[in-house]
């Protein structure tokens, strides 16, 4: 395992400056920053961003995208997240679904979905978790049954973020019964239209009171053959590889950065020694984690497959996102209040309530440790 230091090229720095200038004009000075990639669903912002070429950056031009490098995407993502830009509408489709379509999708699927994703207009949710299936994905019970021209899908997905706002989700389900001794076989990914007949979406109130999670019940939902993503029976391999490389981006360590900036803005320059130590420690740690995360992006561009490194970055990065919240709560010595007039206090309250999700989503810390430990021993 080796994280190499990497320098941003003049073109990459120019891209950063461009995004920074865009955000300075696009986001009003008093805007309420979103915390992380799931912080705010704003289709208009997603479309505006797409017009600048900053959605679908990994998608090749022939599918409406921009064929940019992982480092270019890294630079754009970190600027957006640091500013607390509302990227929730397009982010999952862009980060996760588009690469899956590129790797595993048919030509028809790519032509159908990728241009819309790149335009910031087509949004995807993830369809993995179920009431009895969390980290153990192979235990999913949602079943697809063969019918003329396709499949009918029945089952229940939960914790489906933004299903009520999005267009599709890629459902992990059984297309053949579980085999003794090979529980990973027989799983497939089907692209399901969230507006199709038989799809019932109901809110599961989120810890902070917002509507973020949903239960998505599927009852004999017809999915045509051409909506099977990748090969039948390869679903497990697809979702795990999908997780691997999309793990270590700036969305895994910057979710709570806007809280820190809001604190400093309200606190002003005359900080105590104790407060300075908290600020300095968090900044030092953020810098160090950023070096690691950027290093993985560079390795991806070099054609490497840094799965262990990515797992390490996600594990350490998401814990940092949480540490930041607790360190500021202690430094501020206050009682967090979602309704506070202070932006810092309101953001702190939001962060306290939502930060437990950071070490769960996209692979729990415990699962990541297993992945990483196996890689270390190898």
């Amino acid at each position: 395992m080796q994280f190499a230091p990497t320098v941003l090229s003049p073109a990459e720095e120019a891209l950063r400056a461009e995004v920074r200038a865009f955000l300075a004009t696009e986001l009003p000075p008093d805007h309420r920053p979103a915390l992380g990639f799931a912080g705010r669903h704003d289709p208009e912002f997603s479309r505006t961003l797409a017009k600048r070429g900053w959605v679908g950056m990994a998608i090749p031009p022939e599918y409406g995208g921009h064929g940019r490098s992982a480092v270019d995407r890294f630079v754009v993502a970190e600027e957006l997240l640091a500013a607390g830009a509302p990227i929730g509408a397009h982010f999952v489709a862009d980060r996760q679904t588009a690469p899956a379509l590129l790797h595993f999708g048919t030509e028809e699927q790519r032509r159908r979905f990728l241009p819309g994703i790149a335009a910031g207009e087509v949004y995807f949710s993830l369809g993995m978790s179920e009431p009895d299936s969390g980290s153990d994905l192979a235990s999913v019970r949602t079943r697809a049954t063969r019918v003329e021209g396709g499949w009918t899908v029945t089952g229940t997905k939960v914790w489906t973020s933004e299903a009520h706002n999005n267009h599709y989700f890629a459902v992990l389900c059984r297309t053949s019964p579980m085999e003794e001794g090979n529980k990973h076989a027989g799983l497939s990914q089907l692209i399901v239209d969230l507006h199709a007949d038989g799809v019932r979406i109901s809110p599961i109130p989120y810890l902070d009171g917002s509507h973020h999670f949903n239960e998505v019940a599927l009852e004999d939902v017809f999915v045509p053959d051409h909506m099977v993503l990748g090969e039948l029976g390869s679903g497990w391999k697809q979702v795990t590889s999908e997780l691997a490389y999309e793990r270590s981006g700036p969305d895994r360590w910057l979710s709570t950065f806007p809280v820190l900036r809001a604190w400093l803005r309200e606190r002003g320059p005359a900080v105590s020694g104790e407060e300075a130590a908290v600020l300095g420690r968090l900044a030092a740690r953020a810098r160090a984690i950023r070096h690691l995360s950027l290093s993985v992006a560079r390795a991806l561009d070099a054609g490497e497959a840094p799965a262990v490194e990515a797992a390490l970055v996600k594990e350490v990065g998401t814990r940092f996102e949480q540490d930041l919240v607790e360190a500021l709560r202690e430094a501020a010595e206050s009682e967090p209040d979602q309704g506070s007039d202070s932006l810092f206090q309101a953001l702190l309250a939001e962060a306290v309530l939502t930060s437990p999700s950071y070490t769960l989503r996209g692979g729990t810390t415990e699962i990541l440790r297993s992945v990483a430990a196996k890689g270390l021993a190898a």
Binding site: M1, G280, R281, R285, H291, E315
Partner: protein, 354 residues
């Protein structure tokens, strides 16, 4: 890493592997020093890497010196490699003073240190000077008539009270009582040669050493937990132990990359932002990884002969030397607060500079 630096690292690794085994490190504790290793390093020109050739050094830059220090940290090398070149050698060369032979050390101006110069008469009390008693000269900054001077004070004129850090590396108290120095031992300190700059170099050096030690701690712990069997299987199969392994690897990589970026950005001198952040992060990494490594090793890690302890005792010392996590976090935080909220993200996102 540049090809030259990679070659330097490879050659140094070979040298330390031969002359700085865990047994050698244990043996050196009696005297706090390995003369055999020092002679070989001197032969190779390593102690004076980053000191210009024109000034009698070995050439190369700060990043080269830090690459060597990372290797030295990995092998727990009981010699003043950082102090001789990156600190003392740099200050002497900058002040136009001749480089004396042999190991050198440096006083960075601890709060309780005193150093005064009256004409050529030197009085000082300098505490916790690394390998002070083993050095030929100690470089200190002294005030005289409102001016700052670089002084290369000879050890044979000093009273030495031995002290040591947690790893039994010498950290001596030196006293010069109205000693007459030669002209060639004193020069006005040029701009930029001050206690802040020395402390920054010291902190960068310890960061590089911590990075090396942490890399080795990772290897040792992965190996040990893969071999050690309990309940009929290697302990590395247990999730609780895996969590320790991952913590150690993360902290080691995090400190290693921060150290490398700080060293590479030192062109020609280390920058405050880089070093403060790297030393604060490396200090925390040392703390967290050492705890996890001992937990994963169990009782064997508590024995003096086993290699882990040679490394963790250094980590526990180096994290505090030239400023601990709290010190550097506070200094960095003060600067960031003064620069304001809008400068915070540009600071964090400034990585390796082209």
């Amino acid at each position: 890493m540049s090809d030259d630096r990679r070659m330097l690292t490879e050659v140094a690794t070979g040298l330390f592997r031969d002359l700085c085994t865990p047994e050698d490190v244990v043996a050196a504790e009696a005297t706090g020093w390995s003369g055999r290793l020092w002679d070989a390093l001197t032969e190779a020109g390593f102690p004076l890497v980053s000191v210009p050739e024109a000034a009698g050094g070995s050439g190369g830059d700060v990043a080269d010196a830090c690459a060597l220090l990372t290797v030295a940290g990995r092998f727990a090398a009981p010699v003043p490699l950082a102090e001789t070149g990156l600190l003392a050698g740099w200050a002497l060369a900058a002040a136009g003073l001749e480089l004396p032979g042999g190991p050198l050390s440096v006083a960075v101006g601890r709060p309780d240190d005193v150093a005064e110069l009256t004409g050529r008469r030197f009085s000082a009390r300098l505490s916790r000077v690394p390998w002070g008693g083993r050095s030929t000269r100690v470089v200190a900054l002294a005030e005289s008539g409102g001016q700052r001077f670089v002084v290369a004070a000879p050890i044979d004129a000093a009273t030495v009270t031995p002290g040591r850090n947690l790893a039994a590396e010498p950290r001596d108290t030196l006293v010069w009582d109205d000693v007459e120095l030669a002209d060639a031992d004193i020069a006005p300190a040029p701009d930029g040669v001050d206690t802040a700059a020395l402390r920054l170099r010291g902190a960068l050096a310890r960061t590089a050493q911590i990075a090396g030690a942490l890399a080795r701690v990772t290897e040792l712990t992965v190996r040990y937990t893969g071999e050690r069997q309990q309940f009929g299987r290697p302990v590395a199969r247990f999730q609780a132990v895996q969590a320790h392994l991952v913590t150690i690897a993360e902290e080691a990589q995090l400190a290693g990359l921060a150290a490398q970026v700080a060293a590479l950005n030192a062109r020609p001198d280390p920058a405050f932002d880089d070093v403060a952040a790297a030393k604060a992060a490396a200090g925390e990494a040392a703390t967290v990884a050492a705890r996890a490594a001992h937990q994963a090793h169990g009782a064997i890690g508590m024995t003096k002969e086993y290699e882990l302890g040679q490394l963790t005792r250094r980590l526990w010392s180096w994290r505090d030397e030239f400023g601990g996590e709290r010190y550097w976090s506070r200094e960095l935080g003060r600067r960031l607060a003064a620069e304001g909220a809008d400068a915070l993200w540009p600071h964090i996102s400034r990585g390796l500079v082209a």
